[in-house]
Structures are given as C-alpha cells and as structure tokens.
Amino acid sequence: MTREDFIAVDRFSFFYGEKQALHDIDMRIPERRVTALIGPSGCGKSTLLRNMNRMNDLIDGVRHRGDIRLNGQSLYDPKVEVISLRKRVGMVFQKYNPFAKTVYENVVFSLRVAGRNRKRELDEVVERSLRSAALWEEVKDRLHDSAFGLSGGQQQRLCIARAIANQPEILLMDEPCAALDPTATLKIESLIRELKEQFTIVIVTHNMEQATRCSDRTAFLYMGRLIEYGDTKQVFENPREDETEAYISGKFS
C-alpha cells in the first residue's frame, strides 16, 4: 500500500534574506514513486528539494512559512532533531562528492556517524548498498582504495550507495546526472527505476527525456511557484498550463 501524501508540502514559502525563492507551494508526493521537479534555472527546484531534509537551514538569514510533513510529521516541529530527520532522508547531489576516504568508508559513513561499527554489519551494508547502486561488480576488488580513483559515473553511483546505506525512506536527487556522460546517465536512470521499489524518490532534472523515462509524477516550477503537477504522462503529453507547454517544448529555458 502506498501513501499518496507521504511528503506533504503545505503552502510552503521560502526566503533567502529578503528574496523569496518559493511562493506558497502545495504538493503531495506519493510513497515509493519517482517524482520529478522540472523548471527553468533559478525557479527554486533545488530550494524545494533541499528543504525536504532541511539542508537550507545551514544558510544564514533564511526563513520559511508554511510546513512540510513527512509521513504526517512536521519537519519543522521543534521536537524534530535534524540529524535523525536526515537519517530518514538520503540525498544525492548534482556534483558527485565522495569523501576523501576509501570506497568502503564512503558507503558506511552514515552508519559510522550513527555509532554503528560492527564489522559484520558494515560488510553486509557495503555489499547490499553497492549492489543496489549497480556498482558492486565494478568495485568489489578495490573497496579499500581511495574513492577518487573511480570514474565520474562510478563516483556518482558511489554517492547513491552512500545515500541509501542507512536505509532511508526518501531519496532526494538534485540533478544526479548533470555531470555524467550518456552511458552513465542511462545506468543511473535504470537504477532509479529499481530503487523506487524501496524508496520514495524526488529528483530534480533539466532533462525532459529523463523525466519521462524514469518518473511517475512531474511538477513544473516557474519563478518559485508550482505551475503544474500531475502524472508525468499527462504533464508532458497534455499540459494544462501554457507555461508548461512552452517549457517542455523548449520555447524558453
């Protein structure tokens, strides 16, 4: 059974200082589906995504209005610990960013910071996560080499393995294929389709084909507003709004 409002964004507005980046966003993101956020550069996709694990808290002078609920629980509830929240929400970034550590230590990082150090458990997690990230076969002999020795696509898949190692419920991906070549991109897309069996995935992408290939829902943002949100098929084949149509047909970027 999947929850339709697994992530609930309620009239959410967000400000960087005086600049408002999001205007009253209202959307429901279903459980174990892939939801794509599309829109021109600067429209607020990353801002929205980064609020789902409160990554934007780190920036000075930001404030918000409205609420985001995760499985019914408000993220901004004063009782919520940001650290435990982030354990439930994994994140993959546009620019692959492995740590200056071995492949193995990269994957188990989230377990180590949670104080889980049992070797047996870690070994299992490494194999499972790397298999899920379709990387196991390529790196199983170099687990204890530096992660920087991997190719760009491998590094990005390593980052995905790292993000899912601690079994989060949600996986946020901010343009995960932006720095990759077409082959690596295809690999990661098929990976996303597999991962949605286990995780609720929100992905930001500039690539229309990618959104159609791997997402179930698509949200189109424009100038900080949610213009259109619906099934991917419907949004791309039959957009309700003119701006959406203009954007997906490449009339503006």
């Binding site: 990554m55 740590f99 910071v113 530096s146």
Partner: protein, 546 residues
C-alpha cells in the same frame, strides 16, 4: 570560403601583454638569483671550512716600502684570504692572510703578509696540523714523544706514528673517564649531600643522616683521588712540535685531539679529513668560546625546541581556526579577530620575547616555583628554559598555522560538507571525519611554514632561555631525563654569538658559515620530512578532480 589572409594575427595587438610577461619573468629571475647567490655563498663558505688546506712555509724578507712591517723570518700556515690594500701613499699592496696557529709563540693566530715580502714559498710534506683542547691549532714539524717513564721517541724513529696515534686515543679515553667521574659520580654525590644537609636543617640531624654523610664524604675522597690520578696521567706524556722558526712547543698528551699532515694527504685523504671535521662539528661540544669544536648542543636545542613548538602550536592553531571558520558567526567581531591574528604575524619578534619573559617566566614560572619548589635556592621555572622558549615561539607562529588552516578548511568544497550532513552526521562529526582529513595537507603546509619560521628565529629566544653555552642538554640520562626548565643552545643564536660577540672574530668566521649552513640544512631537512608526509596524505586524500 576562399583563403584570404591568415586567420590569426601573429604580431601586433595580440602581443601587447608581452612586456608584462617579461616583467614577471624578470621578477622571478632576480628572486631566484638572490636566493641561489645567498645559498651558494653559504654552501661554498660552509663546506670550505672543512676542506683541509695545504700548509705552506713562507720565507719573509721585508722589501723596501712594504706596509706590514713584518719582521724577517719563517712563517708556516695556510692561506685564508687574499686582498689588495691601498696605503696612504696610494700604492697598492697584494696581501695574504695566513693562519699560523701556535698562539703561545705569536700571540695572534693570523698574520697578514705583503706578497712583495715573501722571498720563498715551500710545501714540505712533513708539516703537521695539530688540534688540541685549548689554545687553538699548532702547526709545525714532529719533534719527539716524551713518554711517562722518561722514554723519548724521536720523530722518524720506528713506530713513532703508531705511538702518537695510540697516545691520542688513550687520552681521549681518559678524558671520557674523567668526565664520567666528574659529571655523573661526583655530581650525584654532591646532589645527595645537598639534599641531606637540607633535610638535617629542616628536621634536625639524626644518626642515619650523619652516617650517610660520612659515607658520602668517603666516596667523594675516593672519587677525587681517582680524578687526580687521571689528570696526572693526562699530563704525563708530551708531544714536542718544532715550529717553522725553530722553536719548540711541548704539548701534553691529554691535550691532543688529532694530528693531520695536509700536504702528504691525497685527494681521498683530504676528503676523509673533511668528513672527519664535519662529523666532529656535528657531534661534539664547543670549545674555546665556541670558536672550535662542534655545535652538537646547539643542534639538539634547535631541533628539540622546534619540535616542542610544533607540538604546542599545531593543536592550538588548528582548534582556533576551526572555531573561527566553522562555528563563529561570520560578523564584525570575527573579522576583527581575523585581522588581529594576521597582524600578530607582523609584530616584531622581540616583542614576543618580552611577552614570554614577563608572562611565561615571571608570572607562570613564578607560580610554578612558588607552588612546587618553595624551598629551592635558585629559581627552577622562573628563569629562561626550553619550555618557555618553545611556548613563546608557538605564540609567535600561531598566526601562520591559523591562517593556513582557515584557508585549508575554506578550500574543502561545500558539497562535501553537505554530503556529510545529509548522511546524518552532526556538524562536529562532519568536521572531524570529513573536513579535517581533507584539509590536512593544507594544515601541514602551515605547520611547515611555522616550523621554518620558528627554527630561524633568534631575537625572542635571547630573552627566554637561549644561552651561548649550556653544558647540560634538555634531555639526558639524569633523572627525570627531560628537563624542560633548562637553558639551551640554539644555532641561530650561536651564529649571532660567534659572529658578533666572539673575542676572536677572525677565528670564529669559518664557524659562522658552517653553522649557518647547518641551520639552513636542518630547516630544509625538517621541511622535506614534513613535505613527504604531506604528499603521502595528499595522495591519500587527493581532492576529486571534477
């Protein structure tokens, strides 16, 4: 398209920047030339000190109108430098400076001779260069050995050279023995006597203390006897050297350090002698107001002080930088702190010395002495020592480490921090596990710079514990083995002391160059070690090439 003119301009406007390229190249060239010139001078002069020069015998017959007024006679020695002097009448004289040694005969170790006065120059093979404990080198011909039992062995007799070598070796062993008795045994004895006397004064004497004192006195008598015997033995044999002008110098066997025939030695022999001199320089204590012997205590002091300093400065600087960069709210206050830290690097180093003297020695040292050594007769920590010197230098170099660490931290990409936080790490965990390892090479660069700066600093040290002669090392075999309160010697100060405070600056000149070369080499070696470590780390934590 038809081919018209060339696609790219090859001269003219596109080369407008060229002069600036030359300008920058010229800047670099001048810098490199200055650096290499300085290093080259130090290296050549420093190594020259150890290279054994040929000894010459000069027959001096003063010519008409020469300025030096040297008496006629024979001079033996080696040429130190040549120069041209212009006298009052405007006539130029080519002069040479000769090291002739034999201070007891001539008073001065050096003599200037006008080339015009020199009638003849010879290089006899049998000239000796004798190193001795006191009085500087002796130059002359081997005369005879007068041995303890009234036995006399003439030079050239069978077994003479072997007997001389043996004598030198024996005396070295005896001096060693003497030192052991004086420093270890008599020193321990005296210390215990002092303790017992104090005890008796405080608690009233009792039979046990009196008995032990008597025992100690007996032991002292015995040791003193042994000492006297060895001293006598050291004076018993004599080596007679004939100087070039025919006079005799009687050297006690105990004074002899080394005998060398520079004119007979081939290239390999001289090379060997050079290494021997180099090794003596590195490994032995200074003699003769630091103008002879080695600089071992100064090397030891410099290295220990620099290491202790980096042990203090690294954690302190890194922690401060972490707070400044990662935790403090970036506002006016932090900016002010940062500017102050940077300016701290511009404060004259002597000011740090004054601060160290006032704060560490008088205040902290005073407190330590009052609390832990209330009845010591002399100040223990309330006087200059290697600990206070290291702390003072740590303070002096902390801006270097802070600035380098801050830069290294700032260079860690934001993505890496965010990734760590997104994995559920707390801020401290992210810093400790991800940011610090990634910035370690940069931090080490800062530590390297701090070490180089600290090792070369002299002025503040003069106030907080460096002395021209410190017979006891800060780490030795006497319990408790580490003596952070002890004064120490330092190569930088040694250079200053030799060059400008020495009674015989002419004799000290070679030592100045050699010591400078050594200090530079030590800094280079320490830096190289740190660079090797850093490159290892860098390979391990190479930043992702994106």
């Amino acid at each position: 398209m038809a081919q018209t003119n060339t696609a790219f301009a090859t001269t003219g406007r596109s080369r407008k920047g060229e002069p600036f390229v030359w300008l920058t190249a010229a800047g670099l060239t001048i810098g490199v030339i200055l650096t290499l010139g300085l290093l080259g001078l130090v290296v050549v002069k420093g190594l020259e000190v150890f290279w054994p020069a040929r000894l010459v015998v000069l027959e001096v017959e003063p010519a008409e109108g020469s300025g030096q007024g040297t008496a006629a006679g024979t001079v033996a020695g080696y040429v130190v430098q040549e120069r041209v002097r212009r006298d009052l009448a405007g006539k130029t004289h080519e002069e040479i400076q000769v090291f002739r040694g034999n201070r007891e005969l001539h008073g001065e170790k050096f003599v200037f001779l006008d080339r015009a006065d020199i009638a003849e120059t010879r290089q006899p093979g049998d000239l000796l260069l004798v190193e001795r404990l006191e009085g500087g080198h002796v130059i002359g011909r081997a005369g005879a050995l007068e041995l303890a039992g009234g036995e006399r062995l003439e030079a050239g007799a069978a077994g003479f050279d072997e007997r001389l070598e043996q004598l030198i070796e024996e005396s070295a062993g005896r001096r060693e023995e003497l030192k052991r008795i004086e420093k270890d045994q008599i020193g321990r004895n005296a210390k215990r006597v002092k303790e017992l006397n104090l005890e008796a004064k405080l608690a009233g004497s009792d039979a046990g203390v009196a008995a032990e004192l008597a025992e100690l006195r007996e032991e002292f008598e015995r040791l003193d006897g042994e000492r006297g015997e060895i001293r006598e033995r050291l004076e018993a044999d004599h080596f007679v050297v004939e100087s070039a002008d025919g006079r005799e110098i009687r050297l006690a066997g105990g004074e002899l350090l080394h005998v060398f025939r520079p004119n007979e030695a081939g290239f390999l022999g001289r090379l060997g002698e050079m290494f021997r001199r180099g090794w003596t320089f590195l490994s032995s204590d200074p003699r003769e107001a630091n103008t002879e012997g080695g600089v071992y205590p100064a090397i030891f002091g410099t290295v220990v002080m620099t290491l202790v300093m980096s042990i203090f400065v690294t954690p302190f600087g890194v922690i401060a930088a972490i707070y400044l960069r990662e935790y403090a709210k970036q506002g006016h206050l932090v900016r002010a702190v940062r500017i102050s830290v940077n300016n701290l690097a511009g404060v004259p180093s002597i000011v740090f010395g004054v601060f160290g003297l006032a704060f560490f020695i008088y205040f902290v040292g005073g407190l330590v002495d009052d609390t832990f050594f209330p009845d010591a007769e002399e100040p223990v920590y309330k006087s200059g020592g290697i600990l206070w010197a290291s702390l003072t230098l740590a303070l002096l170099t902390v801006p270097v480490v802070i600035v380098a660490t801050e830069e290294a931290l700032a260079a860690v990409p934001r993505g890496v921090r965010e990734a760590a936080l997104a994995c559920g790490a707390s801020k401290w965990q992210a810093i400790q596990r991800v940011v610090l390892p990634a910035s370690l090479p940069g931090i080490l660069t800062g530590v390297i710079l701090a070490m180089a700066r600290g090792a070369g600093e002299v002025a503040p040290l003069m106030l907080v514990g460096v002395v021209k002669s410190a017979p006891d090392l800060p780490i030795d075999g006497v319990a408790p083995f580490v003596h952070p309160e002890r004064q120490f010697m330092h190569l930088g100060f040694h250079i200053y002391d030799l060059g400008f405070q020495s009674p015989d600056s002419e004799a000290a000149k070679p030592m100045v160059f050699a010591t400078t070369l050594l200090l530079i080499s030590i800094v280079v070696v320490m830096n190289l070690a740190a660079i090797v470590i850093r490159n290892r780390l860098r390979k391990k934590y190479a930043t992702s090439s994106f």
